[in-house]
């Protein structure tokens, strides 16, 4: 008995040690990034943990540049992209889960394959189309192209959830005389919520951090935070501290969202793959 207890204890200690080791790897760079937001350029290369902390970088980024504007633009574009993906993606996921029709798996796969298109393959033709259509450097244009990033993930996760829902629940509600939209909103939506929320967050993160598309398809009127963060690599010197401020502030909305939905986060990504 005693032996087993010791074994169990040491086993759990080992587990925690391994986890801590990984946590160190995963979190140290983040800690480091936050640390250097308080470092001046002059001390960046000459100090590690002991230095004269300053808020200069924060002042420089938040007050003296249009970083805040980029931040707002990013919120508009990323949440707009996720919203559009939800509006058109959820019905599509429903169709893929519920109906049997010709070319279904092909369609599903085609949508997924957009996620895998090398960005530089599409960027030049896209640029020319955007110029021709007059949607270059517009919210609409960016929200559209972000669908490449957000929609496939969303459709694939939510589809699994729809497949998970017993079709009889739906039919029973319809027999009770509820119109289809009530069935959809009142019965189906709550059931897919965890998946929708978790996939929505991941889609938001990927859209939020996207770089190539906003770099080449916007810039004069609209700017996003990843592009703005890289501007602190000026030609005279790399303002690492200011870049770190930009990146840290840029991560805040994601962190807040993740904390808000942490309940759904893990469970929501089960893709409806294993049911039981």
């Amino acid at each position: 008995m005693m032996n087993m207890k010791i074994r169990q204890l040491s086993l759990s200690a080992l587990r925690n040690a391994l986890l801590s080791l990984y946590a160190l790897f995963a979190l140290f760079p983040i800690f480091w990034m936050i640390l250097i937001t308080f470092k001046s350029d002059a001390e960046m290369y000459t100090t590690t943990f002991q230095f004269h902390p300053t808020l200069y970088n924060y002042k420089e980024v938040l007050l003296r540049t249009d970083y805040f504007k980029a931040f707002l633009d990013n919120i508009i574009v990323s949440s707009g992209a996720v919203l559009v993906s939800i509006l058109v993606g959820v019905p599509a996921a429903y169709a893929l889960a519920r109906y049997k029709f010709k070319g279904k798996e092909d369609l599903a796969f085609t949508i997924l394959s957009f996620r895998f298109a090398p960005e530089i393959l599409v960027i030049l033709p896209l640029f020319m189309i955007y110029q021709a259509l007059g949607i270059y450097d517009t919210y609409f244009g960016l929200i559209w192209v972000y669908q490449l990033i957000t929609m496939p993930l969303l459709i694939w996760v939510v589809r699994g959830y729809f497949e998970d829902i017993n079709v009889e629940i739906e039919q029973a509600a319809q027999l009770d005389g509820y119109p289809w939209y009530t069935v959809f909103l009142k019965i189906l939506l709550p059931l897919i919520k965890p998946g929708l929320v978790a996939a929505g967050l991941l889609a938001f993160i990927f859209a939020w951090n996207s770089f190539t598309f906003p770099l080449l398809l916007s810039g004069f009127r609209i700017e996003t935070v990843t592009v703005a963060s890289l501007k602190y690599i000026a030609s005279d010197t790399v303002h690492y501290g200011q870049m770190a401020v930009a990146a840290t502030v840029a991560a805040l909305p994601e962190v807040i969202l993740a904390l808000l939905i942490q309940r759904h986060l893990v469970r929501g990504l089960s893709f409806g793959a294993v049911k039981g």
Binding site: A42, F109, A132, G219, L230, I233, S235, T237
Partner: protein
Amino acid sequence: MSHKFGMLFFIGAALLLYSCGSGNKQSHNRSGGDKSLRQAQEVAGTGGFRWDMASGSAIKVLLNQHPYSEAIIKKIPDFEKVTGIRVEYAITPEENYFDKVTTSLNSRTGDPDIFMTGAYQIWEYAGADFIQNLDPFIQDSNLLSPDYDIEDIYPGVLGTLRWDLVPGHMTGRGPLWALPLGFELYSLAYNKKVFEKFGLTPPKTMEELIRVCEKLREFDGKGTYPIALRGSRNWGTIHPGFMSTFANYGARDFAVEDNRLVSKVNSPESVKMTEDWVRLIKTGGAPAWSGYTWYQAGADLGAGKAAMLFDADINGYFQTGKGASKEAENIAWTVMPLPEGQDEINSNLWTWAIAMNKASRNKLAAWLFLQYFTGAEYSLWSALEMNAVDPARKSVWNNPEFQAKMADREGYYETFQATIDGTRILFTPQPHFFETTTEWAATLQSIVAGKYTSVQEALDILKRKMDEAVEDVVIE
């Protein structure tokens, strides 16, 4: 899952497009071209130059993240007030700046009207008919402000922005494609405190430089090293100290033979120079040299990790502002080391200039922008108040206030004056510049990594690659 349908669709659509045959990108051109140049001249009329002659128009300006553009942005409100022109601008991180310029110019929509460029890019862009020739503007007294004084710009600097579009012809002749905001030449920056401590004097020859490097290994303990040099897989590794030294050894990149460009990088001069350069890297370079760009090289000098920096004079300069770096007060400059027996300095040159999109629909307004931000008044202000160095105008260098500002930087002014006359672009202009120089940098990396048995072997292979790259260039 059958995907035959999808595949067929792609092939079908591709064939459909193929039936369109070859294409002319300009057919989609909405305007621009020479028509808009005449328009600009008509609007200006013959009543003489006025700053407000394009009042009411709007232009877009594409800028690279740089102290030069920070200065421009500060003065845009003044420009708008004086001219009545509305300016919209976008700043792009340097790493991706030219991707954006290329994509934008290639669309030929006239957007942006103005962009920042270097001289090497002109060799690609001018041939593609992306850039407006500025001579018609410069030569028209109705368009040129009477106090612009183009003679005030160093002829060597302005000359790098002139080119006759013939690959193999050096810069300095032909149409003017852009106007300089500022430029850099190459010299040796060093930490005078370290030199004092070791009782060293600044090296004058390459051999002396290597000997100094031997003495400065780990001069301040682990992690410190003698000399910072660029080494990343990029043209930026070739064009600063490397290319200047290359020319000082009497080597050249290309020669014209039978109306073709032929690479000369495997010449005896080039081999000798490369051997010495590799020895320099191995004796004195950073352990992580192959990752070094402008930033790491400059920062290491500023942080006291490197005792010397053989790079752009302004790279060291940016480390010397108040609070800019730990060693800000200890950095000094001297002319670049030369091979034994050579006393004439050849320095390569880089300039950030502003150019006009050929497809621009607002050429008069764009021209006023070019003039304002390369004019004498603005140049002086940006050099004094902002960090827009090295100014391309002699009047700024002769200004006592500017001289006083530079006096804190030991040897900077003198080094500049000693080098400027031998400063010009040392590369042979050709449209594949970025390909040949990137291959060059990759080869240098491989030599240092010991991938070749000899420098000669490596440069023979590089020569073949460069010849291949410029294969389609025919000189008429």
